[in-house]
């Protein structure tokens, strides 16, 4: 309920902002619809629906505090937030350290988050899965995966030369 309310309010504010913002680029003529017409139509309906949804939510509240904070606290303690952060960090470090180190680290760290506690299993499966994905995509499918910068770039280049030596890849 709390998160729902926050999401609804954020979406409503963002929609109102976009509705006003796009008004500035209106280039309609008497026979042509401008660039702002369609987005404004969508946003207008969205604002109305979000407002109705918000009123419905506040009505169903029955005198309870709209933001109890309990759900927010639980969210910050949850594995979900950690999972989201791991994914976000992975996306950000991928161009810096390249595919192989990012993939290996991600597989190990997310594996721990999902309950795997045996270090040997994490390291072996992490390394094997990374290598399989790398060989399949870098080799036969010719998809050049991110190399990273500096040391990581040199490492990726040496891996590519090793793969290039395998016949058929």
């Amino acid at each position: 309920m709390t998160l729902d309310l926050i999401f609804n309010v954020v979406l409503l504010i963002a929609s109102i902002y976009c509705f006003i913002y796009i008004g500035g680029v209106d280039n309609s003529t008497s026979t042509e619809l401008g660039a702002a017409f369609w987005p404004r139509l969508i946003l207008g309906i969205m604002i109305a629906l979000l407002a109705v949804g918000l009123v419905n939510m506040l009505r169903k509240r029955d005198g309870k505090a709209p933001v109890s904070g309990q759900a927010v606290k639980e969210f910050f303690k949850s594995k979900l937030l950690v999972g989201m952060l791991i994914c976000a960090i992975t996306a950000l470090i991928l161009p810096m350290i390249g595919f192989i180190p990012t993939s290996f680290l991600f597989l190990v760290v997310y594996g721990i988050l999902l309950g795997e506690r045996r270090p040997a299993v994490l390291i072996i499966t992490g390394a094997a899965a990374t290598l399989i994905l790398y060989i399949i995509f870098q080799g036969p499918l010719s998809i050049f995966l991110p190399r990273g910068y500096g040391f990581f770039r040199n490492f990726a280049l040496s891996m590519e030369s090793v793969i290039g030596m395998i016949p058929g890849l």
């Binding site: 026979t31 629906l49 979900l80 992975t90 999902l114 899965a129």
Partner: protein
């Protein structure tokens, strides 16, 4: 029809394409059987493999993954009472009790053959319907095409059992996301805030991969944290046995009804295999002479569910190929893959490039036949495949999704977009919004806007002339009825209660 069949078989029986379809079938059956990997996710994860293929082969390959993954979902539903895909949930009602009675092999046999028959009937229906439907659609002007696209969106609100307002907001949000970037008609930048990357618009593929792969893994992360991890799969020993012709003859009407129903439901945009299987199961229970036996482990229940969900795959391809409107999430992913290949998806596709229809038809025929043998062959090792812990599978899914997003333009920006879509998608779905509506809005957004603006321009700025054709009026009235129907339906019990 015969031409489509011949050219379809020519395409898919060329050695390289056949090997790809075979591989797609194996991967699809395994993906579908793995709980937490839906059919849409299976297609999304198969995308990076299709990047290097030509459009005709790519669609055949993705179709094989889609059809096989729907079938794979039924296997775990029968053996472990865990549907591999949501569309196989009704299969658990009768499949699992049958397996518990020691008839797991028979239940699997019914499931696989029913899936194949449902898929084949739908493939023929697709080949028969698509061309005439596209021919009719070719006569449509921009006003009619706008109404058709709106119809596709409004069907969702009618079929969604949840919150109508949230479903509408989801669809609108998808339409809004499609407006980001340079306006195709006037060249004005919209919602880019000076960012040049946004000028080309929101890339559909990373958003879809994020919504179907990352969101699902996040959902499983929460689910497993609550359950305390562990693997639900326990080894089950069983013998796979195909029931005899006499057994199938006894359920022939169930197969026919479910296949037709599944195809029709599949054609409706947004109403995919899940709605088809539940609806078919309910219908069969109602028309059955022995409804009390449903849920106790009878073949009728398995056949109804599996025939319908596989038939929906063929149905979903009809609006995609004939009108350029995807009939479901997996079809939306295939559509974005075709757009990526520079294919103009819409009514002209069937006429100007009939190879695409032939390829889909041929792929569906071959996949639905070979998947029975593939599933039977690997049935023995299913328990072992399913024993792969999610702590390994989940992260591998995200890495595969990462490659799929990156390989699109060799841009890590698309990986960031995928993760953002996955995180927002999780919040979105857990708060009761509809990701299917969002995807459909995103895919249909450009079609809706372009045609509305073109209609207005042709009518010299007159709304009454722009949308005055009888087809447009009827379609828009149907749209209005579909949007209002759930609202009125929701209000009725309250009135009764008040009285």
């Amino acid at each position: 029809m015969l031409n489509t069949l011949v050219s379809g078989l020519q395409i898919v029986l060329s050695p390289s394409t056949f090997i790809l379809i075979f591989a797609g079938t194996v991967v699809g059956v395994i993906f579908g059987a793995l709980p937490g990997v839906s059919a849409s996710m299976a297609v999304a994860l198969a995308l990076p493999f299709a990047y290097s293929m030509n459009g005709v082969v790519a669609i055949a390959f993705l179709c094989s993954v889609y059809c096989a993954s729907i079938t794979g979902g039924g296997i775990t539903a029968i053996l472990f009472k865990i549907p591999g895909t949501p569309s196989s949930a009704p299969t658990t009602f009768d499949g699992y009790p049958m397996a518990q009675r020691g008839e797991a092999g028979k239940a699997l046999g019914y499931s696989l053959v029913a899936s194949a028959i449902g898929g084949l009937i739908a493939a023929f229906a697709m080949a028969i319907i698509s061309a005439p439907l596209a021919a009719v659609a070719l006569k449509f002007g921009p006003g009619e095409l706008f109404a058709v696209a709106m119809l596709g969106l409004s069907v969702l609100t009618c079929l969604d059992n949840g919150n109508v307002i949230k479903t509408l907001i989801s669809g609108l949000l998808g339409l809004f996301l499609a407006t980001i970037g340079m306006d195709p008609q006037t060249g004005v930048a919209r919602f880019t805030w000076g960012n040049t990357t946004l000028l080309s618009g929101v890339e559909m593929i990373p958003v879809m991969i994020g919504l179907f792969a990352v969101t699902e893994v996040l959902k499983q992360t929460v689910k497993r944290a609550k359950k305390g991890g562990g693997n639900e799969m326990e080894g089950v020993s069983y013998k796979t046995a195909i029931p005899g012709v006499k057994d199938f003859f006894a359920v022939k009407w169930v197969m026919l009804r479910s296949s037709v129903l599944g195809t029709v439901v599949g054609i409706l945009p947004g109403a995919g295999a899940t709605i088809a299987s539940f609806l078919s199961y309910t219908v069969e229970k109602k028309v059955s002479k022995y409804p009390e036996k449903f849920g106790t482990g009878i073949p009728d229940g398995i056949v109804a569910s599996e025939c319908a969900n596989n038939a929906a795959t063929g149905g979903a391809m009809v609006p995609l190929l004939a009108l350029g409107i995807p009939g479901g999430n997996a079809a939306a992913i295939m559509m974005s893959a075709l757009v990526l290949k520079g294919v103009q998806v819409g009514p002209l596709l069937v006429k100007s490039q009939p190879d695409y229809l032939s390829s889909v038809f041929g792929s569906m025929l071959i996949t639905n036949i070979i998947m029975v043998f593939v599933a039977l062959a690997i049935a023995k090792v299913f328990a072992k495949i399913l024993a792969i812990p999610y702590s390994i599978l989940g992260p591998v899914i995200i890495m595969l999704a990462t490659i799929g997003s990156f390989a699109l333009k060799n841009s890590t920006g698309d990986v960031v977009l995928m993760v953002a879509a996955g995180i927002i998608g999780y919040l979105f779905v857990s708060l009761g919004y509809s990701s299917a509506a969002l995807v459909l809005g995103l895919v249909l957004g450009i079609m809706c806007e372009e045609n509305l603006r073109r209609a207005y321009q042709i009518a010299n700025g007159s709304w009454s002339k722009a949308l005055n054709s009888p087809i447009t009026i009827v379609l828009l009235l149907v749209c209005a009825a579909m949007i209002l129907f759930p609202i009125i339906k929701g209000a009725l019990p309250e009135k009764k209660a008040k009285n």
